[in-house]
């Protein structure tokens, strides 16, 4: 530890830190473009220049190590002057096209220009022109004129994605970011450069021009693309998910997420094939009905089967709470055959984030009881028993199991199939009752990732179940302002429900006396009955998650 002084205040910090790190730890923001806590130091933007007593020149805070007795000034006249100069320099050849730039509102250059620059340029020449709309790869677009040459994107590809695909060419104010000859920016993590880019040089080809950032709300949640469960933010405008961005969690994903997760885990939320209300099969066709009718129908039908004629499939896509209540319902009915269908893609895994288990909650589903007591009750046996005509009724939540033709074949044999589904899919074609379930973007809940980390997921999209304002969901400018009669958000609200809530209603018609008013109630019960969850609460999980207790659950859930 060393004692240093920053802006007149003394701090004790570890001695292997740089000034910028020491300042950050103590809540002092030193402006920076090129420095990033998870990338090597390049020291090129020069906006973090600070004054250190006894050093003749200003030094860059990102590469200067602290030392005993060091006196740092981040706001002296010299520093202010140099910072202003750096910002003036950066802006002279910058296109200043904030009004049409996707980054506006979350742009470091914009923020710093407001905060640290006098705001008037003395440059009155023609700017250097560089290529616009360069397709660097399938997912990322480059505006070379906006680039401030911080090299974060290059270092990310080299150091994190370990795919050197980007480089600079030319010199001086003609420097251009580009891909190596014959290369594209197409590594599985390429879109992280979009957030890394402190300006609007690198934009998402998927999201470009869809919304101004201040018109969106952002909700802290987790990705469901694989068993990693990368922490992320879900961005919503007009009740429509527009983009996902990673959220730093050192225990899970650092600052990153993969392109697959970012692009393929939200489109179904907005899709036209969403199931908008419960449906019951009448004369061979699925017909929309009210919730009460659909639930009564399920209750009525299930009573016709013996407990060994019924099986249930939970889902590794569903939350711990959904799976827990499915287990509990089956226990109530005395049904022993319960399992879920794993979605493993062998080998599709790497050393950074991507897991071959393409579901977010296999560990959680198993922990809360969606696991057969023995192989004879497992999925393979369930399938055989259906084929053999011994299992006549099947309860499936949130998984398109019929996408596998072998399973689809077996489903034809059933007398009764209940399906929770958010979107039209193969499985509902065989269903007698379809219960319109909320996607992960529309509900509260927890997932347990492959590490055994329990993480929270929150609704970003409001449904008839969750009101954006009454339920304290994240608000955008569009949501916040305007009188109640003319709120600008007019997006569609669907009549879907979280699977745990649907199961709760089914249980009620089947004679169970459960009392859950919220997802949190369900979780609290999990925490009090399942030993691996002991001691956990929504509060404790917070935004960063919490680990399951070491010795995993083996206790069965009581009805």
């Amino acid at each position: 530890m060393v004692k240093i002084t920053i802006d007149g205040k003394q701090y004790e910090v570890e001695n292997n830190l740089t000034i910028i790190q020491a300042a950050k730890q103590n809540g002092i923001h030193i402006p920076h473009f090129c420095w990033h806590p998870h990338l090597s130091v390049s020291g090129n933007c020069r906006v973090c220049l600070v004054e250190v007593e006894k050093m003749p020149k200003l030094v860059i805070a990102c590469s200067t190590q602290v030392a005993e007795g060091m006196v740092v000034n981040t706001n002296s006249e010299r520093v202010v002057q140099a910072r202003n100069a750096v910002l003036e320099f950066i802006l002279i050849n910058h296109p200043l096209d904030c009004p049409i730039c996707d980054e506006a509102g979350e742009c470091k250059l914009q923020d710093y220009a407001y905060k640290y620059s006098v705001g008037q340029s003395r440059f009155d020449f023609e700017k250097v022109r560089k290529p616009k709309r360069v397709e660097l790869g399938p997912n990322v677009m480059l505006d070379t004129e906006r680039c401030i040459m911080c090299s974060r994107c290059i270092r990310f590809c080299d150091e994190v994605a370990k795919k050197p695909q980007l480089t600079f060419t030319q010199r001086g104010d003609h420097v251009e970011l580009t891909t190596f000859p014959g290369e594209q920016l197409d590594n599985p993590y390429s879109m992280n450069v979009i957030e890394l880019c402190p300006v609007g040089a690198l934009t998402s080809r998927d999201f470009r021009f869809k919304a101004r950032v201040w018109d969106m709300s952002s909700t802290d949640t987790v990705c469901v693309g694989c068993a990693r469960g990368c922490n992320m933010k879900m961005w919503v405008r007009n009740n429509e998910v527009l983009r996902l961005t990673p959220r730093n969690n050192p225990a899970v994903n650092d600052y990153w997420m993969c392109d697959y997760g970012r692009l393929n885990t939200f489109k179904h939320v907005n899709a036209a094939n969403r199931i908008k209300a419960p449906m019951v099969r009448k004369d061979g066709r699925l017909v929309e009905v009210g919730w009460d009718e659909a639930i009564a129908k399920v209750g009525f039908e299930l009573k016709n089967f013996k407990k060994n004629e019924i099986a249930a499939l939970g889902s590794a896509y569903s939350t711990n709470e959904d799976n827990y209540l499915l287990t509990k319902l089956m226990n109530h009915l005395g049904v022993k055959r319960i399992d879920f269908v794993p979605h493993i893609r062998k080998g599709e895994q790497d050393d950074l984030l991507i897991r071959e288990d393409k579901t977010p909650n296999s560990v959680g589903a198993r922990e809360v009881g969606v696991r057969p007591e023995s192989a004879e009750f497992g999925f393979a046996s369930i399938l055989n028993e259906i084929k053999a005509g011994n299992i006549k009724a099947l309860y499936v939540i949130d998984d398109d199991i019929a996408a596998d033709p072998v399973i689809a074949d077996a489903l034809l044999k059933l007398d009764f199939l209940v399906v929770h589904a958010s979107n039209e899919n193969e499985t509902i074609k065989f269903a007698d009752v379809v219960l319109a379930s909320s996607t992960y973007a529309e509900k509260y809940g927890t997932f347990t990732n492959f590490q055994g980390r329990v993480q929270r997921n929150k609704p970003a999209i409001s449904t008839l179940e969750h009101d954006r304002i009454l339920d304290g969901m994240a608000l955008s400018r569009l949501d916040k302002f305007g009188a109640p009669n003319d709120r600008w958000t007019t997006g569609l609200k669907r009549d879907t429900r979280a699977s745990w809530r649907i199961l709760n209603s089914i249980a009620a018609v089947m004679g169970a006396k459960w009392k859950y008013n919220s997802c949190e109630d369900v979780f609290n019960e999990i925490a009090s009955t399942i030993s691996s969850f002991k001691g956990l609460s929504f509060l404790k999980i917070g935004t960063g998650g919490a680990m399951l207790n070491k010795n995993k659950e083996t206790v069965t859930v009581k009805s």
Binding site: V41, S42, G43, N44, C45, R46, V47, L49, K57, L58, I60, S63, A82, A85, V86, E88, F89, I90, I92, N93, Q120, R122, F123, D124, F125, V128, I148, M149, S151, T167, F168, Q170, R171, G172, D173, H174, V175
Partner: protein
Amino acid sequence: MSDFPDKLLLPDIPNLHRIDVYEQHGGYAAIRKALAMTTDAVIDEVKKSNLKGRGGAGFPTGLKWTFMPKQTSKPKYLCANGDEGEPGTFKDRQIFELNPHQFIEGCLIASYAMGVRATYVYIRGEYVKWINILQHAIDEAYAKNYIGNKICGTNFSTDVYIVRGAGAYICGEESSLMNSIEGDRGYPRVKPPFPAQVGLWGCPTTINNIETLTNIPVIMNRGGDWYSKIGSSKHPGTLLYGISGHVNKPGVYELPTGVLLTDLIHKHAGGIHGGKKIKAVIPGGSSTMWLRGDELEGVRMDADSLKAAGTSIGTAGVIVMDEDTDVLKVLARITHFYHHESCGQCTPCREGCGWMEKILKRFMSVDGNIEDIDLLLNVANNIEGNTVCALGDAAAWPVQSVIKKFREEFEKRIGKIPAENKYIPPPHLVAKSG
């Protein structure tokens, strides 16, 4: 100047570039002598000589060598810097052409002293002819086992390779040079870490200029004490002064440090064309501050004297301008050079060099705007000291010194340009300056 020593680097010996001739004149005795000494003793000798680097920064060579770690599991490297990109500088070329073996021998002594596994001689790409000469000399030295495995029958092995540059001035900056050798973009590295800790391929590395290394065999042969008495005591030795511009006999002159700048120009370089007066002198390559013609009296060509005169010795590339020179045109050309050669890595230099050139070009092509002089100075001040490498300073210093010393040359242009060419600044700038 009776105690004038022999020429140490470029003696007048015909065919000295041939290894047999070099050997006949005592060549490769110094490396044998060094190999018989301890490495510490060799470094001590260099320290005693008080030799200062000839690449521009004038860092004490012996001290630099001591920065190399003694205990390390990694190979150590020496980079011999022959990029010679500084405008007004053309001395290392003479060494390659006339005395390549003495340079090689210098590399070998340095390698032995620091335990260097290989020397990379980085030479600017345009020097094809000199690269060929040096390669031939290296081949000769390999054939005679001065370089290679177990040199001169000892247990010390070391190699020498030439790396050809691809035409960027910035690759003469030592850390950029290492990146270039590694096959990366010629971007200077942020220091620390310094090359002696993390250099070429992450290994301990020392970078020395060609001329610096060529002095080493002399120091070995005649001793550090002897060497330290040549020329100015704090900056001893001989220098290869490269003189260019409006002198009658431009060229490279080997003379002791500390000669009078006026002697250099008038006695050695034959005075000014047509007997004209001197308007300005750049004493140490384009990166050094300018001197006015009336400031030259008594200025000596060594680090201290030039420092006192407000400039520096740099590469000892002296550029002389006569009274008819348009200093703005020269400054604009130099500024264009730095704009063109800025690597573009760090903000102030990348953006500022181009801005300075634009202001100067406008000043020259349309009627000047008085505010532009201060703007130009301010831009230079905003670059200076705030960049990753010294190129930013090198770009700022000429501008600062010309504005300081020749402000009237700017002012007198204003109003001399036809009205239709008149520059009209945008209103917000006029309002601001008013």
